[in-house]
């Protein structure tokens, strides 16, 4: 039986909502829970309408206790459910850090493979929404540094749908980072989309002169920078990582071999950020191919600033283009 597809224009928030909806519909073991995910539909409305349609047994509010949101997700996964737990904001995921890193990430190992942790923890992350403290952080490195977790982040509505469905279907625990500043980004998508691999990067724009490696909220910034560069006769390739752990090195290396110049960017601090790992790998494995040092563009080593300053701190197209220029000096 052919499944009818429809093409609609949706925001990323809506695409995520549809992915949750379709996962609930297709798999009776999927559960959704977290703070305010019930009647309110979550503070970003990503779970809007799901409790009404699927009932309060499968879509439910929890007490305000992130460690136990994660800990009960583990227990439910042992029971054979596929929990999709929501952390309300990036910095509010930290109380769950012990459960996620010491238990969820290690339970498969601890049980000799008998208890896979087929669960997803959704976390809105990143800044640029004018918020108060603790609402704009980029915690991806904490999670990507922990073996046993997979970490993915979409940059657009189509990927948001495909990646979230793939994350829910995956047998391992997936930290699903949602770039909250892009919840309102619109795109035409055809649904239901075919399942995405959760470990594949994507070339968001092809180019020949330098590669900008970005993910999540920085992909649209990189695409804007590429647009400007094109008007100046420079063809930038934009690579959207999508998966932060594991990293799709094949796609990264192929692009770096082609352009020979690489800039990595993220909202997270440059210090020990994902860019460091990518730069080190490229330096080591493509030492003879690259013609310039890998540039990194990210946040300084400060706490996330008060929102009045955030635009000064966030990497923007100008900073990316300056970094591209530096790679082109070689």
């Amino acid at each position: 039986m052919a499944t009818a597809t429809t093409t609609t224009t949706v925001t990323m928030g809506k695409a995520l909502n549809l992915a949750l909806h379709d996962s609930l519909r297709d798999d009776s073991r999927v559960l959704i829970f977290g703070e305010d995910v019930g009647k309110l539909g979550g503070v970003f409305r990503v779970t809007d309408g799901l409790q009404d349609e699927f009932g309060a047994e499968r879509v439910f509010n929890t007490p305000l206790a992130e460690a136990t949101i994660a800990g009960t997700a583990l227990g439910l996964a042992v029971k054979g459910f596929h929990p999709v737990a929501e952390m309300q904001f990036d910095a509010f995921s930290y109380p769950s850090f012990q459960q996620v890193t010491s238990n969820i990430a290690k339970y498969h190992t601890r049980t000799g493979g008998a208890c896979p942790m087929s669960l997803v923890i959704r976390i809105p992350y990143g800044g640029n929404i004018g918020a108060i403290e603790q609402h704009s952080e980029s915690p991806e490195t904490y999670y990507a540094h922990t073996a046993g977790l997979k970490v993915v982040t979409p940059s657009n509505p189509a990927d948001a749908y495909g990646l979230l469905r793939a994350a829910i279907a995956d047998p391992d625990p997936v930290i699903f980072l949602e770039p909250k500043a892009r919840y309102w980004m619109k795109q035409e998508v055809t649904l239901p989309a075919p399942p995405e691999s959760i470990a594949k990067a994507r070339i968001a724009r092809t180019g020949t002169d330098a590669t900008v490696i970005a993910y999540g909220p920085m992909v649209s910034v990189a695409l804007a920078a590429a647009e400007t560069a094109a008007s100046e006769g420079v063809a930038l390739e934009v690579l959207d990582l999508r998966s932060l752990s594991p990293i799709d090195w094949e796609t990264v290396y192929a692009s770096a071999r082609k352009t020979k110049r690489v800039v990595v960017t993220h909202e997270a601090p440059v210090f020990l950020g994902l860019g460091g790992e990518i730069a080190a790998r490229l330096m080591h494995d493509l030492f003879d191919t690259l013609v310039a040092p890998v540039e990194r563009v990210g946040a300084p080593t400060t706490p996330y600033p008060p929102s009045r300053y955030e635009k000064l701190f966030l990497p923007d197209a100008d900073r990316l283009l300056e970094a591209v220029d530096r790679t082109r000096e070689y």
Binding site: L31, E57, T62, A67, V78, H108, T109, T111, G113, W249
Partner: protein, 373 residues
């Protein structure tokens, strides 16, 4: 015109918790005569409790010996916990689940897990030694109190699946200071999860005594989470068995969670790495040595006329025989191939990790011709 002077709606207080189980215990936490009658624990069950406690103590002693002989990196003795562990585990049905803490060696024995295999964890061969689904017994969890939310989540799942399953989870009094414990108690209360919380209050968290750990009584905390609780004499396996069974029935009936505080004493060190002489004296410990779970069960059997020396001898010889087997299993246990560490990280491992494993194995190959596999 609106009547602005009217009072706000009356507060809806939660009705007082019914706790018929507590009424069956004396203030010291043993069964009253009525409690014994209601619980109806048979002589055969009491003999099972006795036998399994003797075995637990003997195997625990063997674990300590093995550590002292260099066969184990670490051992956390269960001495003084036999009643809570054997009584609690035996009270649960085979279909029920247990989420233990790291000291629940006696519970694992009751569940039929090969103790020689359990010890491989403390020999440093692996992080977990059994399939939780096979024994309905979760892995030993080291970060204190973090297994409690797992039990609650699992119990929430049992309720969603409309199963008649109860879940038991254990922890020490130190765990009741952790955020995860309080959060999990509250979740259990809110979701009416079919879970029994069994606190093995041994009065010591490594060197920190209960007086520096717990304000108030642990059992009283249950009320704050909307669930009933009871404090039981931690040396009385019969009482713990009876109360756990009733609490599990309460949970299975859909009446929600229940907290049991088994009040006992850690007679040994926290682990073999600990030195209790730095923080307590023999005079502190002495009174609790008489508070012995095994002697208590023997007394109870004698009072029932269900005791005989042949039974005791049979228990001891079974325990000795199992200790010898455990020792053999442990000593014969060899490491898995080191690549297992890579293979167990994910159910669906990424190519990057497979490549790391292959490089690691290639590097090891010349030096590990026979070892393990």
């Amino acid at each position: 015109m609106a009547d602005v002077t009217s009072a706000p709606p009356a507060r809806r207080d939660t009705p007082a918790l019914e706790n018929p189980i507590a009424a069956l215990l004396t203030p010291e936490g043993t069964l009253t005569a009525e409690g014994e009658r209601v619980a109806g624990v048979s002589d055969a069950t009491l003999r099972d409790l006795y036998r399994l406690m003797v075995i637990t103590r003997r195997l625990d002693q063997e674990g300590l010996n093995l550590q002292r002989q260099g066969e184990l990196g670490l051992w956390g003795p269960t001495l003084g916990h036999e009643a809570a562990q054997v009584g609690g585990a035996l009270a649960m049905r085979e279909t029920d689940w247990i989420f233990p803490y790291y000291r629940d060696f006696g519970m694992a024995i009751v569940r039929g897990i090969d103790p020689g295999q359990i010890l491989t964890v403390f020999k440093g061969l692996r992080h977990g030694a059994w399939d939780p689904h096979q024994y309905r017994f979760g892995p030993f969890v080291i970060p204190v109190g973090t297994q409690v939310p797992h039990a609650v989540g699992f119990a929430m799942g049992c309720k969603l699946d409309h199963e008649q399953t109860a879940v038991l989870t254990c922890f020490g009094e130190g765990a009741t200071s952790t955020g995860d414990w309080h959060e999990a108690m509250n979740f259990a209360g809110v979701f009416k999860a079919p879970v029994v919380f069994l606190c093995q209050n041994n009065q010591w968290a490594i060197s920190v005594p209960m007086s520096e750990q717990v304000a108030g009584r642990i059992v009283d905390r249950a009320a704050g989470y909307g669930l009933p609780g009871v404090r039981v004499d931690g040396a009385d396996a019969l009482a713990i068995y009876a109360v756990t069974q009733m609490a599990a029935d309460h949970a299975r009936r859909g009446d929600g969670p229940y907290l049991i505080e088994a009040f006992s004493y850690r007679l040994g060190p926290h682990t073999t790495s600990d030195d209790p002489t730095r923080y307590r004296t023999e005079a502190d410990v002495m009174p609790w040595r008489a508070h012995d779970p095994i002697a208590r069960a023997a007394d109870q059997l004698r009072k029932r006329g269900a005791w005989d020396d042949a039974f005791e001898r049979a228990c001891q010889s079974e325990a000795d025989e199992r200790a010898a087997r455990m020792r053999q299993t442990l000593i014969a246990a060899t490491p898995d191939h080191p690549s297992t560490v890579f293979d167990l990280v994910y159910a669906n491992p990424p190519q990057t990790l497979i490549a790391e494993r292959d490089a690691f194995v290639a590097e090891l190959a010349p030096e590990t011709p026979q070892e393990g596999r």
